[in-house]
C-alpha cells in the first residue's frame, strides 16, 4: 500500500523558488480535474517564506517552503461539508472542486495558510502533491523534480527503502506547527530556531579577538556552555523560543559578566566587553 510523504530540509533550501515556479507552470491555466482547478495568480501552493534572524552583522536567513501539509487530522476536512475535502488511500488530501464550491470555510480552517480562495470560480484550492501526475505514473510532484539541492524529497512512507524514508532518518523530524498535532504527511528538518550570539572583547586588548572564552547560558532547566571562536564570537543554537536565559562569562583576570537574555531579547547580544579585574 502506498502512503505518500514529503520531507523538506530547510538547511538545504537556498530560496531559489524553483518549486514555486514549477508548481505555477504545472497548474496555471490548466484544470486537472478531478483533483484541482487551475492555479490563478497570487496563489502559492508551495509558499517559500524567508526568515531573517539576528541583527547586523550576525544574521541568519532561512527559507521555509510550505505546501499543503496533507494532514491526517485535516482541519479543512472538518470544515468541509458534503464530502468536499477527502483523503485518498495514499494519504493525499484533495479538495473536490465541484463539491467545495462556495465553501470559504475550507480556506480559513487551514492553520498553515495553505488553502486559497478562487474568487472567480468560487472554490477553494491547494497543493495536490501533483496527484494527477502520480496517477499518470509520475514518481514525484513537479516541485520535487525542480529542487536543485534535494531539499524536498517525496516518496512512499510505507516502503522502508524509499528515498523519503532514508532522508527522514538522517536528522530529527519536525512538524511545521507541532502544537497543533495535525499529523501532517509533510515533515521538516532544521526548521529555524531561536539562537543567541555575540562577540566578546577583552577591554584591555580590543585589537585582538578574544578566542576561547567560556560562555555559559542558563535557565531553570538547562545549562549550556560554549567557547568563543577565532573571531571572539559565540553562539547557542536551537533554543526554546519562550525561555528566559542568563548568559554569564567568566575569564581569569577579568570581571565576570552576566546578562539577561529574556525571551524577548535580540538574538544578537552584540559586543560584550570584559574589563580587566586588576
Amino acid at each position: 500500500m502506498t502512503r505518500y510523504g514529503m520531507i523538506i530540509d530547510v538547511d538545504r533550501c537556498t530560496g531559489c523558488y524553483a518549486c514555486f515556479l514549477t508548481c505555477r507552470d504545472e497548474h496555471a491555466g490548466h484544470d486537472h480535474r478531478p483533483v484541482a482547478l487551475a492555479q490563478p495568480d497570487g496563489q502559492a501552493w508551495i509558499k517559500v517564506g524567508e526568515q531573517e534572524r539576528g541583527s547586523f552583522p550576525k544574521v541568519k536567513v532561512s527559507y521555509v517552503p510550505v505546501p499543503c501539509q496533507h494532514c491526517a487530522d485535516a482541519a479543512c476536512m472538518g470544515a468541509a461539508t458534503g464530502g468536499a475535502v477527502y483523503r485518498r488511500k495514499d494519504g493525499i488530501v484533495i479538495i473536490d472542486p465541484d463539491k467545495a464550491a462556495g465553501q470559504r470555510g475550507i480556506v480559513s480552517a487551514c492553520p498553515y495558510g495553505a488553502v486559497f480562495w478562487n474568487e472567480e470560480r468560487n472554490s477553494p484550492q491547494k497543493c495536490t502533491f501533483c496527484a494527477h501526475l502520480l496517477d499518470d505514473g509520475w514518481k514525484q510532484p513537479r516541485c520535487v523534480e525542480a529542487c536543485p539541492t534535494l531539499a524536498i524529497v517525496f516518496g512512499d512512507l510505507d516502503d522502508p527503502a524509499s528515498e523519503v524514508n532514508k532522508r527522514r532518518a538522517e536528522k530529527p523530524l519536525e512538524d511545521l506547527l507541532p502544537k497543533l498535532a495535525t499529523k501532517p504527511l509533510v515533515s521538516y528538518h532544521c526548521l529555524p530556531k531561536r539562537f543567541l550570539c555575540g562577540e566578546i572583547v577583552l577591554g584591555d586588548r580590543p585589537d585582538q579577538c578574544a578566542v576561547g572564552i567560556a560562555v555559559t547560558l542558563r535557565n531553570g532547566r538547562q545549562t549550556l556552555t560554549t567557547v568563543t571562536d577565532n573571531y571572539g564570537d559565540f553562539e547557542f543554537l536551537n533554543l526554546d523560543v519562550d525561555a528566559d536565559f542568563i548568559l554569564s562569562i567568566e575569564h581569569a583576570g577579568y570581571k565576570p559578566r552576566e546578562l539577561a537574555a529574556s525571551a524577548a531579547a535580540e538574538f544578537n547580544l552584540g559586543t560584550i566587553v570584559l574589563e580587566a579585574s586588576g
Binding site: T14, Y17, A18, L21, E50, K60, V61, E145, P148, N230
Partner: protein, 838 residues
C-alpha cells in the same frame, strides 16, 4: 488531446516542452532516458560525491511558458505614430510617442529603404548595430550568428561590448596572472574535486554564486556548495550585502564599506608579511616584484603601513576581525571565491576595481595559488567534464554563422570604425571621443591599450542605429544618457528588433517582432559559451547538446530573427549571400556535422531524441587548475586557448615574466606613471565613495549587484509569475515594485517602514522602489540589484523623469573606472533615499 514533447535549451538550462493542440502547456527541465546519465564520482574524505540525475535549470527558466505568451510580446511590426521616413521624423518624441501597427511589407520596406539611403549617402559606417547580452541561446540564433552575419555582409560600425560583469578582472587581474584569453578569469579545471578533497575554508569575496549561477549553468552547482557545507568547510562571506550564498552557507559575514575592499586585502597582506605567514618559497619562485609590494604594504613607500587598524578606519570593520581573518586564512587551506568565474560581484565593478582584482590574485599567490585547496574558484565551474569531445559554443569562430566553416563564404565587415557600449551615448551626442581597448581583449595583454577614436578618419558618424534584443536602461551606467542619445536628431533612424517590450524598445522608430527560441529551429550546448569561457560546461553536472526544436509556430506576427534578416537581405539583393540556401534547421545540422557529435550519434538519432549527453569519462585523470604552475610543470589542463600550452614555455603563466606579477611588466611598459592603475596595485580612495565630498549631499552608497531572478533584464517584466517572488519584485497597490534593501537604522532615521515606496535619488536620476527593511545590509548601504527590464517613467519622453520600474542603473555614474581603464563602475554610486509621496 494529443501531446507532443519537444526539446530546447535556454541560456540557463535545457528544457522539455509539452505542446497540446498547438499550445505550450508545460516546461520542465529536460527529461532524458535515465540510462543516458552516467554521473561522475568524486572521492573525498571517505565519501563518494555524485550529482543527481537531472538538470537544474535556473529558476526563471521555469517561467518560460508565462514569458512565451506574455502580453508584453511584440506582436506586430510597429511604427512610431509621428515618424515619417519621407517627412517629419520627430526624433525628440522617441520614448514618448505611441505606436501603430503596420504590415511586415511596410516595415521591411522602411527598414531596407533606410539602410540603403543611409549607406548611399554616408557609407556603411553610418549604420551601427548593437546586440544585447544573451537574450537567447543557440548557435543559429545567438547574437554573434544570424545578426552578425547579416551586418557583416551589409557593413556596419560594430558596437563593442565591455566586460560589464567582471571589469576589474579583465583590466586588472590579467596584468597579474595572464589569462587574457579567458578575459581575466582563471581556468576552472577539477576545482570541485580539489575543494572537496582539500579545502578547509572558502572565502566568498564579493561573490554570490547562488544568484549568478556560473552565468549559464543554472542551479547545478548549488548542491556542490551543500556538500562542502556538510563537510564542515568553514565559510566566510565578504560583501556589504548578506547575499544569497551567505544565506545558504552560513558562516562569518564581513561587510566592508563599498570601495574599501582593496584596503582590506592590503591589511590581510600586512598581517601575513609581519607575521611571516605566507608561502615564502612560492613567492620567491613563482612571483616577481614582491619586495616593492612588501615596501608598500609596510608603509615604506608612502609612510602609511597598511595595518589592520588602518584598514579598519576605511572599511568600518574591526581591526581585530581583519587580523583574525588573515590568520585563519593563512592557517587553513583556503579557496578564494571572488567571482562566479572570477568576477561578477560589486567589488570588480567600481572605481579602481583593477586594484581589488589584482589583490585577489596576489593574496592567493602569497598562500601558494594552485596548491591543493588553495585556489581562485567561484564554486560554479570545475566539475569533471569530458573535454575531448568538441562542440562549438557561441564564443568559438566555428560556433557562429558569421565566421564558421559551416558557411561557404564568410562575409567581412568592410567598416573598421568601432563604437563602445558604455560610452555609446557620449559618442553619438558629443563626438569625437577616444578610448583604449576594445572591450573583450582576448588576444594579448597589450590589446587593452589599443587606442580607438570615433568618428574614425574616413568614416561617418552614425545615422542609423539598429538595436537587437534586451534593454540596457537597466544594466548600463548613467542610463538616462541612452535616452538623450535616442532623442538626438543625429540618429536619423532607429530600429529595435526584439521579442518583448522592454524599457528601451519604445525609443525606436520601427519595431520588428522576433519570436522566441521555442518558435524556431536551432542547436546548442547547455552552459558552453566556448571561446574565452571554454569549458563553462563544467558548471553543469552533465554536458548536454540539445537540438533546439521549434515547438510551436511563431505567435502573432512574430518571426525568427534569421527569417527577418533573410527578408531584409532579399530586399537589399543579398539573400543568397546571406542564407547560402540554408534554412535555420540546415544551419543547425551544419554545426552538428562540424562538431565531434557525428562520431557519437547520427543526425537522425539526435533529431529523434532531441539531445545528446556527454558524460565525464569513468576513468579520468584529474588536472586541477594551476597545479601545474604551482609545481613548476608544463600546463596539463585542457585549456585550449593558453598560448604557451604545448610550447617550451608551457610551465609559464600568460604574463610577460611567465610568473605572477606583484609589479606588472605589461603595465610598467604601457603606463609607468599611471597613478590610477599603477604597475603595482595600490589602495586608491574611490572617486565616488564614502570619503567623497558628494557624500555630504548623498550619504548612502548604492550596491547594484547582479540579480537573482532575472538575467541581464531577461525574464523580468515579461514573466509576471516572477513578480510573486518577494526577493524579485513586491506588489503594492497592484504594482510590482523593485526592492531596495535598507538597514533598519537608516530606515528609522528617514521615517521609512518596510513596504514603503521610496525614492532613490541623486543628481543623475530618481527611481522608485519598495523598501525592504533588513539587517542584511551594512548601515550606510542600499542594496538594489541591476537588470530591471521595466523602465516606467512618470513623464514618458523626459530622460530625467522619475522611474517607477526599478531601473536603478539610472542612478549609477557613467564615469569609467579609471583614466586608462574603459570599464564601468556602477557600484561607486552615492544616493539619498526618502519616502515617496506622489
Amino acid at each position: 488531446m494529443t501531446a507532443s514533447v519537444f526539446t530546447n535549451c535556454t541560456n540557463a538550462g535545457p528544457i522539455s516542452v509539452t505542446v497540446e493542440d498547438g499550445k505550450v502547456t508545460r516546461v520542465r527541465p529536460l527529461v532524458v532516458d535515465e540510462a543516458d546519465f552516467r554521473p561522475w564520482t568524486i572521492e573525498a574524505g571517505g565519501r563518494s560525491y555524485s550529482p543527481p540525475k537531472k538538470f537544474n535549470v535556473a529558476p526563471f527558466v521555469l517561467s518560460e511558458r508565462d514569458r512565451l505568451y506574455s502580453e508584453d510580446r511584440i506582436k506586430y511590426p510597429m511604427k512610431r505614430v509621428d515618424f515619417d521616413p519621407n517627412g517629419a521624423r520627430n526624433p525628440q518624441n522617441r520614448g514618448k510617442s505611441e505606436y501603430q501597427r503596420i504590415s511586415w511589407d511596410e516595415a521591411l520596406g522602411i527598414v531596407s529603404g533606410e539602410l540603403q539611403r543611409v549607406k548611399k549617402a554616408h557609407g556603411p559606417s553610418a549604420v551601427a548595430a548593437m546586440t544585447s547580452s544573451h537574450h537567447n541561446w543557440g548557435l543559429v540564433g545567438y547574437k554573434m550568428s544570424a545578426f552578425s552575419r547579416f551586418f557583416n555582409l551589409i557593413g556596419h560600425t560594430q558596437v563593442l561590448d565591455n566586460p560589464d560583469s567582471w571589469e576589474g578582472w579583465h583590466w586588472g587581474a590579467t596584468h597579474t596572472y595572464g589569462f587574457y584569453w579567458r578575459l581575466g578569469m582563471p581556468e576552472p579545471y577539477d576545482m570541485l574535486e580539489d575543494a572537496l578533497q582539500n579545502a578547509e575554508m572558502i572565502v566568498f569575496w564579493s561573490n554570490d554564486p547562488d544568484s549568478t549561477r556560473g552565468v549559464y549553468s543554472g542551479s547545478d552547482a548549488s548542491i556542490w556548495r551543500q556538500w562542502l557545507k556538510d563537510k564542515g568547510v568553514k565559510m566566510v562571506c565578504i560583501d556589504p550585502f548578506h547575499n544569497y550564498t551567505a544565506a545558504a552557507m552560513g558562516g562569518k559575514w564581513l561587510a566592508p564599506r563599498i570601495g574599501t575592499d582593496t584596503a582590506l586585502a592590503m591589511a590581510i597582506a600586512h598581517v601575513w608579511i609581519t607575521e611571516g605567514s605566507y608561502d615564502k618559497e612560492y613567492v620567491k619562485n613563482r612571483t616577481v616584484g614582491f619586495d616593492a609590494f612588501k615596501d608598500y604594504v609596510l608603509g615604506k613607500e608612502d609612510g602609511e603601513p597598511k595595518t589592520a587598524a588602518w584598514a579598519a578606519e576605511l572599511t568600518g570593520l574591526e581591526a581585530r576581525t581583519i587580523t583574525a581573518l588573515a590568520r585563519e586564512w593563512a592557517g587553513k587551506r583556503t579557496v578564494l571565491s571572488s567571482g562566479a568565474r572570477g568576477g561578477e560581484g560589486g567589488a570588480c565593478r567600481q572605481a579602481y576595481a583593477t586594484e581589488w582584482a589584482r589583490m585577489m590574485v596576489l593574496l592567493q599567490a602569497m598562500q601558494g595559488l594552485g596548491k591543493p585547496g588553495v585556489s581562485i574558484w567561484g564554486t560554479s565551474m570545475g566539475a569533471p567534464v569530458d573535454a575531448t569531445v568538441w562542440f562549438p559554443g557561441y564564443g568559438d569562430l566555428q560556433g557562429r554563422m558569421s565566421t564558421s566553416s559551416a558557411a561557404r563564404v564568410i562575409p567581412e565587415n568592410p567598416v573598421a570604425q568601432r563604437l563602445y557600449r558604455p560610452i555609446l551615448p557620449d559618442a553619438i551626442l558629443n563626438p569625437p571621443i577616444n578610448w583604449l581597448g576594445e572591450g573583450f581583449c582576448n588576444r594579448s595583454l597589450a590589446q587593452q591599450f589599443t587606442p580607438f577614436s570615433y568618428p574614425m578618419p574616413g568614416c561617418s558618424e552614425v545615422k542609423l542605429f539598429y538595436r537587437y534584443g534586451g534593454s540596457f536602461l537597466g544594466t548600463m551606467t548613467d542610463s538616462a544618457k541612452w535616452m538623450s542619445m535616442y532623442q538626438s536628431p543625429k540618429l536619423e533612424f532607429v530600429v529595435n528588433q526584439d521579442v518583448w517590450w522592454s524599457g528601451e524598445t519604445r525609443f525606436a522608430d520601427i519595431i520588428l517582432p522576433a519570436c522566441t527560441q521555442l518558435e524556431r529551429e536551432d542547436i546548442g550546448e547547455w552552459g558552453e559559451p566556448g571561446g574565452q569561457t571554454k569549458h563553462g560546461n563544467s558548471g553543469c553536472n552533465f554536458r548536454a547538446v540539445v537540438r533546439m526544436q521549434k515547438c510551436i509556430e511563431p505567435l502573432w506576427e512574430s518571426k525568427p530573427d534569421y527569417e527577418i534578416f533573410t527578408l531584409l537581405a532579399r530586399r537589399l539583393g543579398v539573400e543568397q549571400e546571406y542564407t547560402e540556401g540554408n534554412t535555420d534547421r540546415d544551419w543547425a545540422r551544419k554545426f552538428f556535422e562540424l562538431s565531434d557529435l557525428p562520431k557519437r550519434v547520427s543526425w537522425e538519432e539526435f533529431e529523434r531524441k532531441g539531445y545528446h549527453i556527454i558524460n565525464a569519462p569513468a576513468q579520468r585523470k584529474s588536472t586541477p587548475a594551476l597545479r601545474w604552475f604551482a609545481e613548476g610543470r608544463a600546463c596539463d589542463t585542457p585549456d585550449p586557448a593558453n598560448p604557451k600550452r604545448g610550447t617550451d614555455k608551457a610551465h609559464e603563466l600568460g604574463t610577460d615574466s611567465g610568473k605572477i606579477e606583484f609589479v606588472s611588466a605589461s603595465l610598467q611598459k604601457a603606463f609607468p606613471d599611471d597613478d590610477e592603475r599603477p604597475p603595482m596595485p595600490h589602495f586608491i580612495p574611490s572617486w565616488e565613495g564614502h570619503q567623497s565630498a558628494l557624500a555630504a549631499k548623498y550619504p548612502l552608497q548604492l550596491l547594484t549587484p547582479h540579480p537573482r531572478f532575472t538575467f541581464h533584464t531577461h525574464y523580468d517584466k515579461h514573466a509576471h509569475w516572477l513578480d510573486e517572488i518577494p526577493g524579485h519584485r513586491i506588489k503594492k497597490d497592484g504594482y510590482a515594485y523593485w526592492p531596495a534593501r535598507i538597514h533598519r537604522e537608516d530606515a528609522q532615521r528617514r521615517g521609512i517602514a518596510d513596504g514603503d515606496i521610496v525614492k532613490l535619488y541623486n543628481d543623475r536620476a530618481q527611481v522608485l522602489c519598495i523598501a525592504v527593511v533588513t539587517e542584511r545590509v551594512r548601515p550606510g548601504v542600499i542594496h538594489s540589484a541591476v537588470s530591471s527590464a521595466k523602465y516606467d517613467p512618470l513623464e514618458p519622453g523626459n530622460p530625467r523623469s522619475v522611474d517607477r520600474g526599478g531601473c536603478v542603473a539610472l542612478l549609477t555614474p557613467g564615469r569609467m573606472l579609471s583614466k586608462n581603464v574603459a570599464g564601468m563602475a556602477p557600484n561607486s554610486c552615492l544616493i539619498e533615499i526618502e519616502k515617496w509621496s506622489a
